[in-house]
C-alpha cells in the first residue's frame, strides 16, 4: 500500500528524519565534549601511563628559539614509533599571537610547547588538557625540573611537562683570561669578581671587551640579571606574581654594576641598542671576556673557542639561574590525547633525555640524570645540569606584558637603571607592580 500522504508527506518524513539524525549526532558530540569544552583533552590519566602508539598523526608547534631541541626529539620519536609528529616551528616573536588566534578558532595542534614564562597564561585560559594523574604516574615524576612543573600547575592541576631547558649561565673566554693574566680555571664567584675580571679583560684593548648584554631587551634582562638577585637569596616577585620587588638593595647593586660597565665602556658596543636578536652572537666572535649566555648555545659555540662555564653569582656570592626554555602540554581540544601523551612520556624517559637531549649538549629535564655519560665527558655540562636545582622560574600571569613587551615597564626600569642615573628605580618598580596587578 502506498503512502497516504503522497510526495509531500515523503518529503516531510525525510526532513524530520534528517533533523532527528542531526540532533542525535549533536547530542553524542555534546556528551563527548564535556562541560568545560575541553574536548577530547588529556583526560586526567585514565589511559595507559605510556599513552598509545597506534600510528596516529599528531601535530605539534614550537617556537624558533628552541627549534634544534624540539626537532631532535621529534626526529628521534618519529624514527622509533608508529605515531608520527608533524612539527611546525613558529617565529618566536609571533608565537603568542599564533597560539592566541588558534585558541580563538579552536584550531590548536595536538601538542604545543611554550616559553615557560607564558605557560600560566595558557593554563589559566584552559588551553592545555589536565595531565595531573599521567604526570604523577611517571616513575621519575619527582625528578622532573620542578620549576617548570610549578609554572604549569594551576589550581592544583598539572598541565605541562618540561620540554627543553634553557638556563642562564656565565660563559667566559679562557684564552682572553690567559692574556689578561687571570686564572682560566677561576671564573667569578661574586658579582664583584665578575666586574674585576671583565675590566681586566677589557684592558687588553684591540677590540676586546669585558662583557656584553642586551640593554634594549626585557627578556634578556630577566634571564640574565635576576639570577644575581636570586643568588643573594632574594626574590624579584611576590608569590602570586602580582607585585615586583625589583628595587631592593641587592637589585640596585646589580644595576649599579651594569651601569658601571656602560659608563666605562666595559660592555661591547651595541649593548644599548641590543633588542635580543643578536645578543648571543657576540660572544662566539671571541672578543668578549665574560658574559651571561643561554645554556642552549653551548653546543653551537665555535670548536676552537676555549670557553668555560660558571653559575651567575650574586653581589656577594651564591649562585642561581633562570630556568627558562619551553614546557609542553596537550591542547585541550586534541582528540588524540593518549597518543600525544605517548610522546611526552617518551620525551622524559632515560633514552630520550640521555641519547637525544644530553647528546646534543642540552640540559636534561630530570635532576636524576644530571650526571650522565655525555656530561661526564664535558664537566661544563655537569655545572649546567646541577644548576637546575638552584634555579627559579618566575610565575606571573602578566609576565609577557610586563617583562617581555618591548614597550613594557620592566624595560623602562632596566634602561633607566643602567643607561640613566638609576634614580627612578623605585618609581619604575611601582609601574612594574601596576602592570603585574593589571
Amino acid at each position: 500500500m502506498g503512502s497516504t500522504a503522497g510526495p509531500l508527506g515523503r518529503l516531510r518524513r525525510l526532513v524530520t528524519g534528517s533533523i532527528a539524525l542531526l540532533a542525535a549526532a549533536s547530542l553524542v558530540t555534546a556528551c563527548g565534549s564535556g562541560e568545560d569544552g575541553s574536548g577530547g583533552g588529556g583526560g586526567s590519566g585514565a589511559a595507559d601511563a605510556k599513552g598509545a602508539d597506534d600510528g596516529t598523526k599528531l601535530t605539534m608547534w614550537t617556537r624558533a628559539a628552541t627549534r634544534p631541541q624540539s626537532e631532535a626529539l621529534v626526529k628521534a620519536y618519529n624514527a622509533s614509533h608508529k605515531n608520527k609528529i608533524d612539527l611546525t616551528v613558529i617565529p618566536t616573536d609571533d608565537y603568542q599571537a599564533k597560539v592566541g588566534a588558534a585558541a580563538g578558532s579552536r584550531d590548536l595542534p595536538d601538542l604545543f610547547a611554550s616559553d615557560v614564562v607564558f605557560v600560566p597564561n595558557y593554563t589559566s585560559s584552559a588551553l592545555f588538557a589536565d595531565i595531573t594523574e599521567r604526570v604523577e604516574a611517571l616513575p621519575f615524576a619527582e625528578h622532573l625540573a620542578q620549576s617548570h612543573i610549578k609554572a604549569g600547575t594551576y589550581e592544583g592541576k598539572k598541565y605541562v611537562v618540561p620540554h627543553t631547558l634553557d638556563l642562564s649561565v656565565l660563559f667566559y673566554n679562557k684564552e682572553l683570561y690567559r692574556r689578561a693574566e687571570l686564572d682560566p680555571e677561576k671564573p667569578p664567584t661574586t658579582l664583584r669578581e665578575w666586574d674585576q675580571q671583565a675590566r681586566a679583560v677589557d684592558a687588553l684593548g684591540g677590540g676586546v671587551n669585558g662583557t656584553f648584554f642586551g640593554g634594549n631587551c626585557g627578556g634578556c634582562g630577566v634571564f640574565t640579571w635576576w639570577p644575581s638577585i636570586w643568588a643573594a637569596g632574594e626574590d624579584v616577585l611576590n608569590k602570586e606574581g602580582t607585585e615586583a620587588q625589583l628595587s631592593s638593595g641587592t637589585a640596585k647593586k646589580v644595576y649599579d654594576t651594569y651601569r658601571g660597565w656602560v659608563k666605562d665602556d666595559i660592555a661591547a658596543p651595541g649593548a644599548r641598542d641590543e633588542t635580543g636578536t643578536t645578543w648571543t652572537g657576540v660572544f662566539p666572535k671571541g672578543k668578549v671576556g665574560v658574559m651571561p649566555m643561554p645554556s642552549t648555545t653551548l653546543g653551537l659555540m665555535p670548536k676552537d673557542l676555549d670557553l668555560g662555564v660558571a653559575p651567575i653569582p650574586g653581589p656577594d656570592g651564591g649562585k642561581s639561574t633562570f630556568v627558562g626554555g619551553d614546557a609542553v602540554g596537550i591542547s585541550a581540544t586534541s582528540k588524540s590525547a593518549d597518543q600525544a601523551w605517548n610522546f611526552l612520556a617518551w620525551s622524559l624517559g632515560d633514552e630520550a633525555q640521555v641519547d637525544v637531549v644530553a647528546a646534543h649538549k642540552d640540559v636534561v629535564a630530570r635532576t636524576d640524570l644530571a650526571s650522565n655519560k655525555y656530561s661526564k665527558a664535558d664537566p661544563r655540562l655537569v655545572t649546567i645540569n646541577e644548576l637546575v636545582a638552584h634555579g627559579r622560574t618566575p610565575y606571573a600571569l602578566k609576565f609577557g606584558q610586563t617583562f617581555n613587551d618591548p614597550n613594557g615597564p620592566w624595560l623602562t626600569l632596566m634602561r633607566d637603571a643602567v643607561f640613566g642615573d638609576g634614580g627612578s628605580v623605585d618609581k619604575d618598580n611601582e609601574a612594574v607592580s601596576a602592570s603585574l596587578a593589571d
Binding site: 603568542q96 597564561n121 588551553l127 641598542d273 652572537g281 618591548p406
Partner: protein
C-alpha cells in the same frame, strides 16, 4: 496568371518569428529580469558580497569587540562599554604614540613627496639614460616593506652591520654609530628607509601626471616669456594637482598606519620613543592579549582616518574649484 512576387533581399524581408531555441534572451526573459535595476544589482552583487563578507562583517565584529571584554585567549565575556575606549585613551603610551605618529607622518609626507616630485621632474624628459634612472629610482619599490626593513636593520646594526664599520674605516666617525640608539636617530633612520623605499613609487605616479600635461601649454608659456619658476608654479603644479592629491592621500594614510618598519627596526624604542598608534593596537592584542582594547583603538584610528580623508578631499576639491 501567375504573378511572381517581387524578389526581396533578406534585409527587406519582415522578421520571421524566431525559433524558440534561438530566440534572444530579451524576448523570452520575464519582465523583472529585463529591468535595468535588477541587471545592475546582478552585476554589483559579487563585489557587494565580497565587501560585505571581507569588510562590513569584520568591521561589525571589531565594533562588537570594542564594546566587549574580550581576552585573546578566552574569548567574549560580554559587554563592558565604554571601558575599552577609556582604558586605551588613559594608557601612558597613547598620547605619546599619537604625537609621534603625527610627527612621523608630517616628516615623511614632506620629504617623500618633495623628493618624488624632484625625481619625476628630473626624469620626465625622454633623454638618453632617462629610462635607466627611472628604473633605478623605482627598484626599491619592488621590495616588500618587511624585507626592506630587515635589510636596513642589518645595515644599521652596530654589532653585525657594515654601515658603522665603513664610516669608522673612512675616518668619518671615531666610535661606532648607533643608528637606532637615540629617539632622533631612530626616527631619522626609519624615515630614510621609507624615503628610499617609496620615493620611486610616488615618482612614478607624479611622472604619469607630468606627462599628461600638454606640451602646447608649456610652449605657449615660453613664447609669452615665462621663466622656469613661473612655469613650475603656474602650470606644472596646478595641472599636477590630481596626481599630487593621490600621492598625498596615499602617503598620509600609509604613514598614519605605519607599523612594519618600526616593528622590525625599533620595536617602539629606544625608551618607547617610536611607538606608533598601530603598534599600540598590536601590543594590546598580542602582548597584553586584550582584543577588546585593540578593537577600540582600531575603531578610533578608523574614525580619524575617515575624517582626515574627507578633509583632504574637501580641501583639494575646494582648491580645484577656486
Amino acid at each position: 496568371m501567375h504573378v511572381k512576387a517581387p524578389d526581396r533581399t533578406a534585409a527587406e524581408r519582415p522578421p520571421s518569428r524566431p525559433d524558440r531555441r534561438t530566440r534572444p534572451l530579451r524576448a523570452t526573459a520575464p519582465r523583472w529580469w529585463r529591468s535595468r535595476k535588477v541587471k545592475g544589482l546582478g552585476y554589483a552583487a559579487p563585489t557587494a558580497v565580497f565587501v560585505a563578507v571581507f569588510f562590513v562583517l569584520p568591521l561589525l565584529l571589531v565594533g562588537q569587540m570594542s564594546l566587549s571584554d574580550w581576552p585573546l585567549l578566552s574569548g567574549d565575556r560580554g559587554v563592558n562599554a565604554p571601558e575599552n575606549y577609556t582604558d586605551v585613551t588613559e594608557s601612558t603610551l597613547f598620547w605619546p604614540a599619537v604625537r609621534f605618529t603625527l610627527l612621523y607622518t608630517v616628516i615623511v609626507t614632506v620629504v617623500l613627496l618633495g623628493l618624488a616630485l624632484l625625481l619625476a621632474l628630473l626624469v620626465q624628459e625622454s633623454r638618453p639614460g632617462a629610462g635607466f634612472f627611472r628604473t633605478v629610482y623605482f627598484l626599491p619599490s619592488a621590495l616588500g616593506l618587511a624585507s626592506a626593513s630587515l635589510l636596513f636593520w642589518g645595515l644599521y646594526s652596530p654589532t653585525t652591520g657594515p654601515l658603522s664599520r665603513v664610516l669608522e674605516e673612512l675616518g668619518l666617525v671615531d666610535d661606532p654609530v648607533s643608528f637606532l640608539g637615540t629617539p632622533t636617530s631612530a626616527l631619522l633612520s626609519t624615515v630614510f628607509l621609507i624615503v628610499w623605499k617609496f620615493a620611486g613609487f610616488y615618482m612614478l605616479i607624479l611622472l604619469v601626471g607630468l606627462q599628461r600635461i600638454p606640451h602646447e601649454v608649456y610652449e605657449a608659456a615660453r613664447m609669452d616669456g615665462a621663466s622656469r619658476g613661473q612655469i613650475f608654479r603656474s602650470i606644472t603644479l596646478p595641472l599636477l594637482r590630481p596626481s599630487l592629491a593621490l600621492t598625498l592621500l596615499l602617503c598620509v594614510t600609509g604613514s598614519l598606519l605605519a607599523f612594519d618598519q618600526f616593528f622590525i627596526l625599533t620595536k617602539g624604542g629606544p625608551d618607547n620613543s617610536t611607538v606608533t598608534v598601530v603598534q599600540l593596537i598590536y601590543r594590546e592584542a598580542f602582548q597584553r592579549l586584550n582584543l577588546g582594547t585593540a578593537a577600540a583603538l582600531s575603531i578610533i584610528v578608523l574614525a580619524v582616518l575617515l575624517l582626515l580623508n574627507v578633509l583632504q578631499f574637501r580641501g583639494l576639491r575646494h582648491a580645484d574649484e577656486s
